[in-house]
Symmetry: C3
Subunit: 349 residues, 3 copies
């Protein structure tokens, strides 16, 4: 599985990680996640460098981890601090690989690449997740598919009218004005339907559900797996600020070549304290993501087997534009990263 490494990935919701050991397979590696007593998150490979036991089968001693097989102890930097055997000397190579991790926007972000380059400023802006002016409902799941297929699904929103009909169907969606803008490593796809009936998911929250609305749907992709999707409706003629807006956050973290962690949330600017609106969102996420997207994406993976998308010569349509551009941009970034890493190695020789 090809991966961008010098980049932040969503590893978990912040509230999921506490002082007990959590284990996640992420980015092809078994990971151990927990918090120090001061609340700082820690991530390390969940495998002792001695006899390869999962460290998660051991126990905490202070902020350190003691292997449950033969008792080696490692601190949060991955350094071995105790060898209870023989003369107690600690071999120099006795280290567990750790990863930069930070809490931001309610999420724990993990950086699998060069720690020296782990700049928190590179985390994609998801401040809306914790904005007091929005109400956020989130969840997560495992897709049985390569992470790029999950991104493809998000980047080609024309699937909404088929996979998510009728709930999210937009009557004139296929005739929407659509443009795609690239800014560095982000790609933005914007659709506007100037006049339409509000989709079912907005109707209960409009003063008059049948009033004609402007509908818009903007998706911003930040390589490799962060998609932020803004959808809104506003009565025709009114400014968008008056509209009902939902910001969908979709964070895709590779696990293996055929499985992907998918963290999602929906942040709305209306009825912040209405539990019925909360329920409506949770019900939609369950239906839309778990019951509609998930089996479809899994079926696509199953029909592809372990073949790469372009090797199967897919028929490409107008709506594939953003997904194909995202794939190409990501491929170029991965290649560039490999080139830099070769240079770095050459420089060391």
């Amino acid at each position: 599985m090809k991966l961008l490494r010098n980049i932040w990935y969503a590893a978990a919701w912040s509230h999921e990680i506490d002082e007990s050991f959590a284990t996640r397979e992420l980015l092809g590696e078994p990971m151990l996640l927990y918090r120090k007593h001061d609340g700082t998150p820690v991530a390390m490979i969940d495998r002792c460098p001695h006899r390869f036991a999962p460290l998660s089968m051991g126990k905490r001693v202070g902020d350190s981890v003691e292997c449950g097989y033969h008792g080696l102890r490692f601190d949060c930097s991955g350094a071995c601090t105790l060898n209870p055997h023989g003369d107690g000397r600690i071999p120099q190579a006795a280290r567990v690989r750790t990863f930069p991790v930070v809490d931001l926007h309610g999420l724990v972000w993990l950086w699998p690449g060069d720690p020296a380059r782990a700049d928190i400023g590179l985390i994609p802006d998801c401040a809306h997740l914790v904005s007091p002016r929005l109400k956020t409902i989130g969840g997560q799941m495992i897709h049985q598919a390569h992470y790029e297929l999950v991104v493809d699904n998000l980047m080609d929103l024309s699937h909404v009218n088929y996979v998510h009909a009728p709930y999210q169907q937009v009557d004139d969606f296929l005739r929407a004005k659509h443009d795609v803008v690239q800014t560095g490593a982000t790609l933005e796809s914007r659709r506007t339907v100037p006049s339409t009936r509000a989709p079912q998911s907005f109707r209960p929250f409009l003063a008059d559900p049948d009033t004609p609305v402007e509908y818009w749907l903007n998706i911003r992709w930040h390589a490799p797996g962060c998609c932020v999707l803004e959808t809104g409706v506003v009565p025709i003629g009114e400014p968008r600020e008056n509209g009902l807006v939902r910001i969908g956050t979709h964070l895709v973290t590779p696990i293996t070549a055929s499985s992907t962690r998918y963290v999602y949330a929906s942040s709305r600017n209306y009825r912040l304290d209405d539990p019925l609106a909360d329920d409506e969102t949770a019900r939609w996420q369950q239906m839309g993501f778990h019951e509609q997207d998930k089996p479809m994406i899994k079926a696509v993976q199953s029909r592809m087997g372990d073949r790469e998308l372009f090797s199967m010569r897919p028929i490409l349509l107008a709506t594939d534009g953003p997904a194909v551009r995202a794939r190409r941009l990501l491929a170029a970034m991965i290649e560039e990263e490999a080139r830099q890493s070769e240079h770095a190695c050459a420089a060391l020789v």
Copy 2:
């Protein structure tokens, strides 16, 4: 898995396929089967050429199929007839592969090879399945084995006295007169026991179960996987027309290198309207095919792993003659087909 492609395979019983979508893995491919409104069967690869979603997750629109992922529509010839996106232009390569399929003898037959050569006259004669002078009871199952192991089982009927004893056991079977005749791509193996006790499966239907009978068992193999097996008993001295006769139909369709669809039927010329005789047949099929043959063939596959039979240097006995001839005939046909296809390609260059 090596396959003969320019040949008809049994895909399903005709009554199994209706206007709703049926999916079957056949010949290494996921297949979508359904009937047009006029009743004609349709078979196509169950995979959209756009993003590889299973078409069976979509829906029918008239006789066409609409993909459930992004709405491409295909007619029964596999041509794309609707692209709902962008300017609606249909890419030339937007085609689903379809296969010739026909109803004959109560079965749906599928031709995976060159459609121009799909001559219905090549379907093996199974008219007995729908003859009004016979009563047919049938079924099907999946063998967890390579299709040639399923054919081997049918072509070496000496297994009956071991795997199917005592129900189908013939006392003097191993001493039967036995000859094998090849006619083109069919092989016929004929056994006669001039005088014996009727096997248990015939005894309840004889006037005197203990009368000495002539017993015969003829199997006709039509490459690669159609075996028609006629067994009969008649009191000694009487003509075979007076006898009790059962025609067993065994149709073997490869799925993967270690799984095979097996369609079977038994057609008898006695007690056509007797539900007890129907039950007797169904009980035998359940016991003989599902509970006796199936675990044995699966166990053989398991002991062979993914090795090819001859690479394991099996000890060959007299009774292996028909199965080995069938294997060799089939291998030659597959090789000849490959050679022809190379010629065809060369001619195009």
Copy 3:
């Protein structure tokens, strides 16, 4: 999976094998085990050389085995004695591979190598298993791991204080005097704690559980997979003969590269007729071996995948000495065996 072949492996407890067919996957092969009418054990490959059916699906005829598929019959030497088909001639190659097997010390031992070298004197001494002065409680299980990982677990007993704490914990274990002695193909690791509190597992059987004791733990490894572990406690100053002693027998037989048969027993020199002591032992074996060792060893294998231990550059500690020496000794023996076998082949040319 690399294996020593000219060596005895424990295949089963003697009481498990009777006149009926038992099947075990051992040493990469499906094995059929049973006893002749005179009680002698028989082991052969569970696969007919004709069509590769498992012989265990057939039946016994006298001391012979009749294949359940087409009726070939084999005697206990593996020779085909009956071909019921055609002229009944028996092809020369119609043989099943058999293996030397003997009952000794309550176990059935199997020799997968050259039968001419199968000297019963080479079976490791486990006479304590049937000694009338000891009471033995045993069992077995399948480890989901390579056999060398199971041996490693036994050879590095420092895991006891972590995996088996608190039940088997020895307070001063990590400070024990420890030496390792190699004698030919056996390796002995001896630990003595001159003065300590008796471990929990001995305390109920001491006159005064709190009296300070000398504790010793000797493990003798006999390549490739026999470990005999003597643990004892005796009040300080008394001779070891007066002590409470348990001899643990651990027999490791490879199945596949990631599964291993593990036969174990504990023989004690105290309270021979006390069912409470029996229960205590059985409870410890269930907890210690099945619930503590087994998941740990399985997790290690899972973290290693199909990689070889040294290729992963494990950090080695003082306590790894015996396990690493055992691995190196075994590797040398396997290499030597391969060399001899090449010489033998060369000599035949």
